[in-house]
Symmetry: C2
Subunit: 398 residues, 2 copies
């Protein structure tokens, strides 16, 4: 029952200092953070409340519910209790002696109606978008954060091992998802995958077997799968796993809030040659991209390296989805949310920096037939890259 996991004060101080630099650069006087993951990132607690971060000076954590737990979890020094959000402006004015002029909010996630409410609480303030500053700050992972992600990677690696040992014909995709998730929960998987965008689906049961892998759908991903119904038309469905077919498992794992996102190809018995060739090609592409990772490289270069790798191997057609539905990225940042900045997209000109941490996921879709993919999490180091993922990068024929 003890909370052994806690974000250290040094981490919190460093994050606050970095966002304060960004606030000053942007001419913003303060941020009011309330989205749960952002709040956890900057304060160490995800309780119901607000973190007010001035461009200069100490932050103030205002907790609606539940103060004792927030105090235990958070390294923020100034923590007070409020009964209603309506108290926020008054309590800030009391603590700092004044209110900020330009106040940032999380415009990328905060709904229009909710923002109107907060704007009404701060009628004299210029309420602006603070989300870009937050996302940029979260983009660079610290040594401590990478250690946490390695813990998640160990759990994920054990789940993949379990999958290798238990996969067998006859299970439906969803049934098998439930089986390995039961094991996953037992060893620490927290179940709920955090995604920032309200329309993005995040879940650990993205199992696309055989023809399911050939199904294009709503996801901004090369293949969506069958899903369980028109209401949730993505990921695992009612199709049974069969011997001798390619099975793509894209597993999202979360432990203490830190995510892993890894994809491997499986087959029971044997994998048909065409699928095996494609699966090996995608591993080569995955590895070629990693070989080119180092600080200073424009992110879009990685996209083009992967593209060239697919073309030279004759896979231009299925690569990143069928011709009319190709996605424009090969991976994404990852951390306290499954998908973070930057995106490894065709148009991203940002340069790689040490500490940026990505899920790299080149994939191919052979429409109405199957998918092939490989995905690992890596971080950018001073000289190149380091894999955080611990799952062997190979095709698993079980």
């Amino acid at each position: 029952m003890t909370d052994i996991f806690k974000i250290p004060a040094s981490e919190i101080d460093n994050r606050i200092a970095r966002i304060q630099n960004r606030l000053q650069e942007a001419g913003m006087d303060a941020l009011l953070v309330l989205q749960r993951v952002d709040l956890f990132y900057f304060s160490g607690t995800a309780q119901n409340g607000f973190l007010f971060i001035p461009a200069d000076g100490p932050p103030l954590l205002l907790v609606r519910k539940y103060l004792p737990r927030a105090r235990r979890e958070s390294a923020i020094r100034n923590i007070i209790e409020i009964r209603s959000p309506k108290e926020v402006p008054g309590r800030i004015a009391d603590f700092y002696g004044r209110l900020p002029r330009a106040l940032g909010f999380e415009w990328d996630v905060m709904p229009v109606n909710e923002f109107a409410f907060y704007q009404s609480l701060f009628p004299e303030q210029r309420c602006v978008d603070g989300s870009r500053l937050i996302l940029k700050t979260r983009m660079i992972k610290s040594h401590w954060e990478l250690l946490q992600m390695e813990k998640t990677a160990r759990i994920s690696s054990r789940i993949f091992e379990y999958i290798r040992n238990t996969i067998r014909p006859g299970y439906t995709e969803m049934e098998f998802g439930g089986i390995y998730e039961a094991f996953a929960r037992k060893i620490g998987h927290a179940g709920r995958i955090r995604v920032r965008d309200y329309q993005t689906e995040g879940y650990p049961w993205h199992i696309l077997s055989g023809v399911s892998g050939g199904m294009v759908g709503l996801l901004d991903s090369p293949a969506s799968g069958q899903g369980t119904s028109a209401a949730f038309p993505v990921g695992a469905g009612a199709k049974k796993l069969r011997p001798d077919e390619p099975i793509m498992i894209d597993l999202a794992t979360v432990f203490n809030g830190f995510h892993m996102d890894e994809t491997r190809m499986f087959a029971i018995g044997s994998m048909p040659k065409e699928a095996l060739d494609a699966s090996l090609a995608i591993i080569h592409i995955h590895n070629e991209v990693l070989d080119h990772v180092k600080p200073g490289v424009p992110i879009k270069d990685l996209f083009h390296i992967a593209q060239a790798g697919a073309e030279k191997r004759g896979y231009a057609d299925p690569y990143l989805g069928p011709p009319e539905y190709k996605v424009q990225f090969i991976g994404h940042g990852i951390g306290l949310e499954l998908i973070e900045q930057p995106i490894l997209s065709v148009k991203e000109t940002t340069l790689l920096e040490p500490g940026m941490t990505f899920a790299l996921e080149p994939k191919m879709v052979f429409k109405n037939r199957f998918s092939a993919g490989a995905e690992s999490v890596f971080t950018v180091t001073e000289t190149g890259h380091r894999l955080i993922s611990q799952v062997p990068v190979e095709v698993f024929v079980c």
Copy 2:
């Protein structure tokens, strides 16, 4: 692999007609629906796209990805493909010969930045909030929808039976959650619980055993539990289930998009008298509320009936949470999302109407000791209520 589940055309037509009435009453010329569940409700497909609903005339479904699946799933007659949201205004103008003046958006879920984007696409339109009209339309369930919810209720009932047969000491809360969810997925549970509000947590593993049930936390619920870490500090945690302690399991189930939300008290071996008395009292309160359900009753009356029931039995103190943290509701609408309108709250003056469908969940929290609760889903009929839930309303000593 066949999609046997489909929302019938008659349902879609009826929903469109009802929202069109509301649009006309509100003087709104059209709605642009894009949130996934709303889109599914009004079109039958949850693919990536937009449903344009004029106040009068046929709706138009614009699909980004993936058109063939949207066509299979949707009973909407006019379906076209678009490559980018930027095409939406032009395609609407082409189809209808003009653009609406007042256009409604889902302001309760659409982030500020996303709304700014759509507003830029419709510079001449008056963009307004359409979410209230949507939520009110969804509030009343049809005969067909209730049949779907009964299917979910059957699955949920089997999961509760499985829980009764498999619960035992030594499992951690989260481990046991994984075990029963594996069974649940096998018989149709779709895994992902839909909640509308971006800060609300929805998941099927709300298992609060013994002291976990006494833990107040961030949830707008009497108890939050321990959770797996500060990053997800609600629901099941690492505490092991023990004999002779009260265990509250609040199970959310979803099948074909339709949710159930049901709570029962369990004990392994025996339940301590104080917890058993409280558990039976909460069942009596639950039943008393049901006895008062009929069309025309103001919703807040149900809240007060429950309150009086708790007081007369001497439970004023733990009822709905410890004194300083009491919640102000005893249940909520339920359907394609776990929490829908109306809320069974102290201040809700709306009158009960046939077809309104609720999860009724009176609970008590004995701080730092345990929770007691009972929860069932019912619908309002012409003369009273009908339980949709099929789980026996009793305490399960296993």
